[in-house]
Symmetry: C2
Subunit: 338 residues, 2 copies
């Protein structure tokens, strides 16, 4: 089969690779329907995360089950399945508590920009749709496997409630999906912080009521102005830089919440400052599995359409251009078709 391999910053190649095999009785092999490039894939692309040795890329996938290990009974060959970037047995103590992305047997997906993919912990990870969904639903379901599930968690961790005010920091695919989530959870006011016109448009289409273009402390000042001087009930941090984290923390009102889902890069939080802010904080890799059945339903009924974050579609063979377009902000998110 063929798939993407990163060799160095800016060097992602479409190569012939060994076909994945069932290694454990809890594995499944799927044939990729569609996959994509994640904002977090840009960290090694940009050299901000080190690439010590060449390795496959990709952690987002939907597809058709090809083969299952002996212990996998929840899905069967031929079914269309949605999973999560973090695999989970869905039976351990953390899974039972709803934190499948902290499963005691977790393995992160990492080879999904390929024609076939091995999914560990398939029994607890994969959710099959009742029937094969129409191809126009695939992008939405693919979004659910990562960015939509992550945006949902951001809103959940930030305790968005009906009637509340939510601020979304970050206008990438996750931030845009976080707008969808905040709207679905009933936020009355959703302020998207974005300075890119195409992303602003999508944010408004997804349910944002206001756009703030200022960043950093200027952005915080605007949020304060818009929220009676005290800040927002919920802030959804979808970037992961130190600046975005500070912006998020300073934009929340005393007693408010920050949900942070951008993987933190060199972020240190001052204990005393957090203390006196009275802001509640929770982050992490989203427990997408917890939300999958609900989110798959919302996509298939057309209630939400997170697939719109894909504004560039390429053949999988052109995966490198998919990275490049996102790096240069020519695309929000690149869909890849095997």
């Amino acid at each position: 089969m063929r798939g993407a391999v990163i060799h160095a910053p800016g060097d992602v190649r479409f190569e012939t690779l060994d076909d994945p095999q069932i290694l454990k009785p809890t594995d499944a092999i799927i044939r990729t329907a569609v996959t994509c490039v994640c904002g977090s894939d840009l960290w090694p692309w940009r050299g901000l995360d080190a690439t010590e040795a060449a390795h496959p890329m990709g952690h987002e996938y939907v597809g058709f089950v090809e083969e299952v290990g002996a212990e996998v009974t929840a899905v069967r060959p031929g079914q269309f399945v949605v999973g999560s970037f973090a695999t989970s047995d869905n039976t351990c103590a953390n899974c039972r508590n709803g934190w499948q992305s902290n499963c005691l047997n977790r393995e992160f997906m990492s080879t999904c920009q390929a024609e076939y993919v091995r999914v560990p912990n398939a029994q607890g990870t994969l959710v099959a749709t009742d029937e094969h969904p129409a191809e126009e639903s695939w992008p939405g379901l693919l979004a659910v496997s990562d960015v939509m599930g992550t945006g949902w968690y951001a809103a959940d961790a930030a305790e968005v409630r009906p009637g509340s005010t939510a601020v979304v920091v970050g206008d990438g695919a996750v931030g845009l999906c976080a707008v969808i989530a905040a709207k679905e959870m009933g936020a009355e006011r959703i302020i998207a912080m974005s300075r890119h016109e195409s992303r602003q448009r999508l944010a408004l289409e997804f349910g944002a009521t206001d756009i703030v273009t200022e960043r950093g402390e200027d952005g915080v000042a605007r949020i304060k102005e818009m929220t009676g001087g005290i800040g927002a009930d919920s802030v959804l941090e979808c970037v992961g830089t130190a600046q975005a984290t500070q912006q998020a923390l300073h934009s929340a009102r005393p007693g408010g919440y920050v949900g942070f889902v951008g993987v933190p890069h060199e972020v240190a939080i001052d204990g005393k400052e957090l203390f006196f802010s009275h802001v509640g904080l929770r982050g992490g890799p989203a427990p997408v599995r917890r939300y999958l059945p609900d989110l798959i339903g919302r996509v298939l009924t057309g209630r939400i359409n997170p697939g719109k974050v894909f504004d560039l579609t390429l053949p999988l063979a052109q995966v490198a251009e998919g990275y490049q377009a996102m790096d240069e902000r020519r695309a929000i998110k690149t869909l890849l078709k095997p």
Copy 2:
């Protein structure tokens, strides 16, 4: 009148001071019934917080109203009142949200180890009892004004729920009161981390089900052992050092909560570590005013007896000995009688 003044580390004197006066129409003057020394008072006593110029000390108080400003109608001279170390108008946006310790007009109390005290924002801060409480209730009501209210907030911020497992880091007066709070909120298992026998005894009397004497990562390992390998649902951090904060964060299970109420001293939280832990975190000066009516009721009905944290009672004139005894851990908390 006379009161305590700190001049330098280890140098607290009982001195003649000007009688406090009504400075604003929202002030009240109270005659102190009892006051006390706080664990946080030990920071300047030990020289860990700088004392640039001599100043009065103390932020815990219960007493009798002597005089009120023109705008104060909620309490009247002669009443017995309980307040909070953070004054609040109880009408601003933060107060209405329940975060009175972040009142937009907040002033922290700082002169309470004295015979008379000026209370700013008296209207929103002071709660009068229906009648003069018996003198044996005074220590419990005094505890409510700070340590009991703070322990309650720790449990609240850590989202202690019926049937859950709570860990209390810190065996000072706040930690011991946090045990009371966790029990009142229905925790099934309450693990007190303490290595001092007298404090262990009180923790058990207050409702702790287990004592862990190990500290740091050894303590964390013990907690993991006791919680099926994953950590506790709720951790109540009642110290404020970097070590205690790490211990608290590492003791919580994925998806659990840390409520941190010890004022952080040189605490930096690593963003990536917090992220991957999935732990929710909230701290701050306790919004005691939110809890006052409830907690006063629990003390006056005898349901809780947080006054037991006072294991040394001295005349106010011996305030310096009160500090010294706490510093040397001869006393958990010193009650001072004017």
